[in-house]
Symmetry: C2
């Protein structure tokens, strides 16, 4: 073994939190704070202090016992670990509602992500300006992606086109993809896909909201009905009948 401190393999869960720490640190730096304890930073980042320290310990031993962490130095170390000391060229495919919002967003450039080019398949979009870019024809994707050294592809097309677009991004050599379309993409194992699914987020919120509503109902009025299934707790939109349950319906299906 050699004294290579940052051995390797930082746990995924830690990596996902590093950007949060980074943002909290930058906010502290803006306020003129030069030194921060794990406790303070943990509060700012919304995590447990022990978890924060363990996460940071994966990068190396950058704190000072009795004092805390030097804000600027830690910002640099996290940025370096995340690969933010260089710029990354990003291509956005699909300049509809969402693609436009992303293209116009200023918050990426400041974090080292340069929108390098935009693509669409719609002839009415091609050639128009969005932000300070001209929308390219998807037909030119491979050429331009290579020319501009694009490393990250963002898919903001309808779901039906997503796999096809993904295949072309991969063919052009891109191995990091952020997918906004609600589809499961299949890619070779060398390619990493991350999915952002807004409907899913809302559905998870709905699940918990329903749970809350239900448990509150039970808490106050209900006398614990017998076994009759109470399909819909909120007794409003009960209109749509449940689909024919499987025909076999054995007598004792528990």
């Amino acid at each position: 073994m050699r004294p290579r401190n940052t051995t390797d393999g930082i746990p995924e869960a830690s990596i996902a939190r590093l950007p949060v720490y980074l943002r909290a640190l930058q906010s502290l730096a803006d306020q003129g704070v030069t030194t921060v304890s794990s406790h303070q930073l943990a509060i700012a980042a919304g995590v447990n202090p022990a978890k924060l320290r363990k996460d940071l310990s994966h990068l190396g031993s950058y704190g000072t016992r009795g004092v805390g962490y030097e804000v600027d130095y830690l910002i640099y170390q996290i940025s370096r670990e995340l690969g933010l000391t260089q710029d990354w060229a990003v291509a956005i495919v699909g300049v509809g509602n969402l693609g436009r919002a992303l293209a116009n967003y200023g918050g990426f450039a400041s974090r080292g992500f340069q929108i390098a080019c935009l693509f669409d398949a719609d002839p009415r979009q091609i050639g128009t300006r969005v932000g300070h870019h001209v929308v390219h024809d998807i037909a030119d994707l491979e050429r331009i992606v290579v020319e501009k050294r694009v490393a990250i592809g963002v898919i903001a097309t309808p779901a039906a086109a997503a796999q096809q677009v993904c295949d072309r991004l991969v063919a052009a050599g891109i191995r990091s993809i952020l997918n906004f379309a609600p589809t499961v993409l299949s890619v070779p194992p060398t390619v990493e896909v991350r999915k952002v699914d807004l409907s899913t987020e809302l559905q998870i919120l709905a699940f918990h909201a329903q749970r809350r509503a239900l448990s509150e109902l039970e808490a106050l009025d209900v006398i614990d009905y017998p076994d009759i299934e109470r399909l819909d707790p909120r007794a409003v939109s009960r209109a749509d009948e449940p689909p024919d349950r499987p025909r076999r319906v054995a007598g004792v299906s528990r």
Copy 2:
């Protein structure tokens, strides 16, 4: 104990996957498929079949051994569990780039989420139309949220305004919040916040992209340099010097 099948407490990890299964099932239903095995559905959803079965088993015993799951029936059961048999009214605060994209998106209504109202603080936005809604003054938030029975709030304002907007949503009785601003929101424990952070996603992609680049470099040329720290593997934007590391620098800090 009573024969209440869906006892309670479905693991969070399972809940987060239910929307994915739901979408895969709907796609199958559209193709006319009436019955599906855990294996097929698992492929469509991009997960392990055993995991899928265990997830579904938390909802009840809705499969038929030797056959599989009835597509329509399973769609109904998952929808019910997620609370999608009723409609949910959603308010969007901040109609900038992102808020507009969300307001114009058609994919929410079809999943039971109705955009009920839009808010902004900018006088130039207030009163304008976005989608088929008029943008309301944020000053009227509490009143309108109660009137329209809004259950879910979406924050699409700049980070600086997010906590303040959040507080008002909570004051108006909303207990489910989807936050797009890059801030940690603090809320009472009765309120659930989910965060969608696009910059974080890109940063995670960048981390892995850097790892790949680095390990490929090492794989072919490098003769394993001695201990000199190699800060930047890509030797390009090496311009910016690392910040002054903590002054104390002990001799043997390992």
